[in-house]
Amino acid sequence: MDTVVETQGLYKYFYNKKGHTVIKACDDISLSIPKGKTLGLVGESGCGKTTVGRILLRLIEPDSGTVFFNGHNLTEMNEKHIRPLRKNFQMIFQDSSSSFNPRMRAYDALKESVQLYSDLRAKELRDEIYHLMSRVNLHKEMLSHFLGSLSGGELKRLDIARVLSIHPAFIIADEPLSLLDMSIQSQIVNLLLEVQKEENTSLLFISHDLRIVRMLSHTVAVMYRGKIVELAPKSVITENPLHPYTKHLWNPKISDFYVQFFESGCVYKNSCRVLHRKGFPLICSEKQPELLEYEKGHYAACHFAQE
């Protein structure tokens, strides 16, 4: 199977003014997304999901590590060489309300993206835009509105329409369903599935909504504090989760523990129920567990994954 996107050992730390590490947004992230497949990236808010997506698009520079897109090493290319490739990877932004110039009209925004990579003119262009609008279930009247006056959900759908207008080979969907109500959520999910089927698009689906991640993804990666703690095919990870954090996500109960940032040991040790049950073993607070393959295609980073 062809791999569309592959990352190796991505690191991205954010520092404060004194130079202390404040957030480890990416801590040794290695992912690969095959053609036509979906990788779901799950985790609590602030764990670095969006940062991973933005590094894949080279919107921010990683501290170290490489990103391959169809064999091109994006981390070594400069912006001038990446720009022709940008047609192939697009992002549905988390905050759609600020991802459009509020002084543009909806029609101009779509026109800009459609005309960027095609030579459609006049009537064909208008038909294409109407088609896009109907795909994301927006009314034609919206096209004459200023983007600043549209609601969050409408902008989200317009953002999706903008991405679809380019026909990318790889879409990063950064919480595409937040701000949308139930019926539109299902429409968008169906739309994404349809696009994936038609155009064989690869998807990185970033979300904290497990229900939808389970519906869309072929593989699921669970992130915690900038680290991937478990990576497995969807059916495996839903039926037999190995890492305690994944178990907690699947079956959430209120955690009593205040989550802190640690220099050493397992990232999840403060909220871990296994740790409690085991009587606080030293290995958890001293050694960072590696992402090991326990079954075929099922990776987990926990010292007690098999128990």
């Binding site: 720009r83 940008r86 697009q90 932004f93 600043g148």
Partner: protein, 297 residues
Amino acid sequence: MKRFYYEKERINIEGFHVPLSKRASVRDVVSVGFGLFVVFYLFVFFVISVTNTFIKDPMQVEISKMFLSPSFEHIFGTDFLGRDIFLRIVKGTEAFFIPGIISVTISTTFGLLFGIISAYYPRYFSKIIFYFLNIIDSIPRLIFILIIIVLFNPSIYLIMTFVGISSIPKVSSYIKSKVELLKKQQFIEACKELGLSQVNIIFKHIVWLSSKSVLIIQATLGMGESILIETSLSYLGIGVQEPIPSWGNMVSMGKDFFFQGKIWLSTIPALVILVTIMGLYLLGDGLNSIYSEKVSR
């Protein structure tokens, strides 16, 4: 009360693009309307004077019609050589119109350029440009111009070029702060990710869509300022010289007859100057108030 309603409206729709009708208060509409009227008559006067389509030559001396007070035949009256003051005011626009536009073009073009460069490359260019511009800014303008006139005796075009250069700092600092604010916005990142070129992003999204209001405002204010400078120079007798009319030298010539009771000779050109500059400033002010997204609480 009405004003308050609009202010409240602005708070609710912070950061969003709102139709003009909802953003503009009555005061803004009146000042912009007045300003546009001023721009209109300036333009018409200029066209008339360039194409030379006068009913009567404004330079023609008629001793029999000396010191006629305003009437239907001569709406602004006649001066000490019997020339029609209204026609001379129309002709007087020629003295500052093109020089003023030159000065405004210089200040907005270079202001825009320096503003963008210093916002995008703060490390290398910002300090150099702003030290240089601060030096220009620190010299009192009129005195600077007077020194230049004394030393080189230049034409009005050259003087207005200096005026334009000396207003670059103001324009570029406005543009710089605007661009600095905009370039951090996510939609610029989204444009980049979409594959738009940097030039396209800067000139379409940042300059054309988001900062053209700043430029228009600065242009109207700059035009007002250059009219003021031209008229003051002419008043002092270093600008346009007598037989050729200029609003400044008309005031200057007329002032000798002021205490003889012939007040219209200097008062009317002075009022025209006042109304014109006030109109341009109000236009800038009104546009500023309409276009600004600042939320007043």
